[in-house]
Structure formats: C-alpha cells, structure tokens
Amino acid sequence: MKIGILALQGAVREHRSLLRYMGVETVDVLNPQDLHGISGLILPGGESTTVGKLLVRYGLLEPVAEAGRAGLPIFGTCTGLILLSKHINGSAQPRLGLMDTCVERNAFGRQLASFEADIPVPALGEAPFHTVFIRAPYIEQAGEGVTVLLRLEDKILFAREGNLLAAAFHPELTSDTRVHEYFLRMVATAQTSR
C-alpha cells in the first residue's frame, strides 16, 4: 500500500514523517503520473489559493478529481478540506469540488486567533484529540451524505463523505496517529471492495 501526498506546497514533510513512522510507504505527488499506483491521497495544509493555482497549472486538478470520483480515498487537512469542498464562501478559486460541503476560509480570523485544544472526537476513541488550528477554515454546511465527526460551536471541523475525509485541524503537527489510522482503514476498506 502506497499513499500519495500532494507536494506542491505546505506541510508535506509532517504527513510524510507521520505515515513513515506508522510504517506506510509514501510518494510525493507533483504531476499527474505520480497518481499511478497509489491507494490513497493526502492533501496537506498550505495556502489554498497557492495550491489551487498550482493544481490547475500542472494539470492535476482534473485527474485528482476524477480519481476521487472513481473512489480513491482522499484525506484533506485545512487547505485540503477547502479544496475538497464544492462551495467556498466568497471565493472562485480552483477546487476539486468533491464533497457536498460549504466552507468558510480563515474562519476563526487571522493568525492571532489560531489555537490548539484538546477535543473529544468519538470516532477516534475515548481520549481527546489534541487539535491544532492554523488560520483554519470550517465547514459551515454539509449535505445529507456527509457524516460529521466533530462539531464545535456549530462549526463542522472533521467530516467524512464516502471515500473522502476532511479535517480543519492538523493531526500531522502532533504525534497522535489516530486520524491517519482512521484514513488508512478507509483505504483498506476501499481496497477490499475493489
């Protein structure tokens, strides 16, 4: 099993080290041909406008969206959550548009409002998850097919829709592997059902 990490810009290294620590092989995705042979794809945090533009310029947007529609498990953190969403408030930036969600960018405010907090996430087990939010977005509205995994003050921060997983926080900045384990279970399920 090999997991691709979109490596155009952002926190690529952190996802890579966490997955390698878990014994998972990774590959950096920079061009459409890098998508061949991967069982899952991670869209790391970064600047969503930057990553969106680079996805378009290098002809990656459509192949990634197509793979997602065909069932490839995709996990987006922060910027990745924005790119996965169908609707982005007040923005016409390029996106994959795979999840039936509506997101608000920089939704908590500027960097001074960035925060960390221990939050219980039932889908990940009993112990609270240490979440880190950096100029984070949130999902304002989600369609019926979306399972909400974490909601805080009406803001959806972690959600799943079929083969797609999105987090507004950065599990890759911690050493807690539970979110990545959750994603790898999705990948394993997708493989057995093929």
Partner: protein, 298 residues
Amino acid sequence: MPEVKKETGTFAVKKGLAEMLKGGVIMDVVTPEQAKIAEDAGAAAVMALERVPSDIRAQGGVARMSDPEMISGIQQAVSIPVMAKARIGHIVEARVLEALEIDFIDESEVLTPADDVHHILKSEFNVPFVCGARNLGEALRRVGEGAAMIRTKGEAGTGDVVEAVRHIRQVNKDIQRVVGASPMELMTIAKEFGAPYELILQVKELGRLPVVNFAAGGIATPADAALMMVLGCDGVFVGSGIFKSNNPAKRAKAIVEAVAHYRDAKLVAEVSKGLGEAMRGQSVAQMEDKDKIAGRGW
C-alpha cells in the same frame, strides 16, 4: 460537548503557520495592488513594507515600520497571510503590528536597527516572528528569543544571490558539525556558536533547524529561487526581485512554479522563458562593507 479550552499564541501555533508556508514564496509588496498581483501569482504570503530593500539602499535615510494604514489596506486586499517588518529591538513597532493583527512579524535587518545590542523577546508576543541569520548560532539565538521561523539573510536589495548561498551553506555546514559531533563536544560547540545549549541538542536530534528556514536576500530569478530550494531551504522570500523587474506578474508566477518544482530543470527552463529583464542589481563583491546590511543583528 464539554467546555473546550482554546490556547492561542502558543509556540506550536506560531511554528505551525510557518510549516504551512513551506514550499512557498513570500513576496515584498508596497501597495494593495502589488499584493493582489502577488496573490494571483500564487504567493504563499506577502510582506507589506513601504520601500523595497533596493529603494532603501538607493534612497538611504532611516528605514522604519510601514504606515499602519498601508498595512491595513494590504490586509484587506488579500486572503493570504500578511507579514510586516519591525526594526531590530523595536518592541513598540512590534506591538503596533500585533495590534494590527498582522500574521507574522519580520524583525528585520533591512530596516535601521532600533537597538544595537538586543533583539525583541519574541516569546512574549502572541504573533509569530521570523528573523534573519547568517549561521547556526545566530539562527538559534533568535529561536531562543522565540522566533518561530528563520530566514537566511543574504544581502537584501542587491539581486545578487551569492550571500544567500553563503549563508545557507554556512547554516548547513554548522548543522553537519553538530550532527557529527559526540555528545561531549556539544557544550563547546554551543559556546563557540554562541547558541543556547538546549537548541544545539535539538539540532543534533533533528538533523536540521528546529523551525522552518526560508532563503532571502538577492533572489531575482526562478533559477535563483530553485537553487535555494536545492540547497535545503524550505521556501523563499523575494523582495526587490519581483516588483523591480519589468514584468512583475509573470516573474512572480514563474518563481512560484520554480519553487514548487525545483527539482524539475525542464520546468524551470520553461517558466524562465521571456520574463524580460531581471532587476539590474549590484554585485556584492564590489560593495564596501559599510554598505552591507547583513551584518546588522547580534
């Protein structure tokens, strides 16, 4: 849902923003219009300042923090992070920038230093700081004061990449020395480098700086930017290089692409075509020491 305690302004949150900028280009801008061009080109952040370094160099005088009105204008124009510069040691300029809710403060040698002995104690702020460094000791002193990001200094406003290369080479060499040293040698290295011992231990364990490190000072072309990535920088700052060239939008876009795909020489060749003239610049080798600004900072 039980009450959730949110902690803001922590080192993890400050360092986290720098992590998100990795593989990106941060561009100097002096107007909201330039900020928009930078954002459209794919900049990961912009640095709001009144004069780009080459103008500061040409015009002389005291270079200070920018007009808050100009900074606010730029904050309103773009959705990417906005950084701004405070003078070395100028606590109040930094507090003013924090009050403006700037996303990152650059305590910068490009401005005229306000304190010729001390740097700002950055750990007391909720906003993250980036600082310049020419070697590992200087980088770790800044991290010790609370900087969440480092940039190698280079020689700002020259368009000559030689100093940026010299500084990242020196940082890499110093890191190799720490990594290769026996535990018994580390205190002596800390003393020699003038670096906090605990941070030397962290470098030994990580094999790299404990925070993100960007290149700066003299980067003018897509190839320059890609060179800095090849040498191990996490991203680049481009100051005068973009808006002092004759096609800023095209050059900005080309530099963004060269940084994202720095290992792909064909792509760097492609994006380097037809950019028009780069900033004219000046060769650092022909400058007198008194005209260099990288020496500022202690």
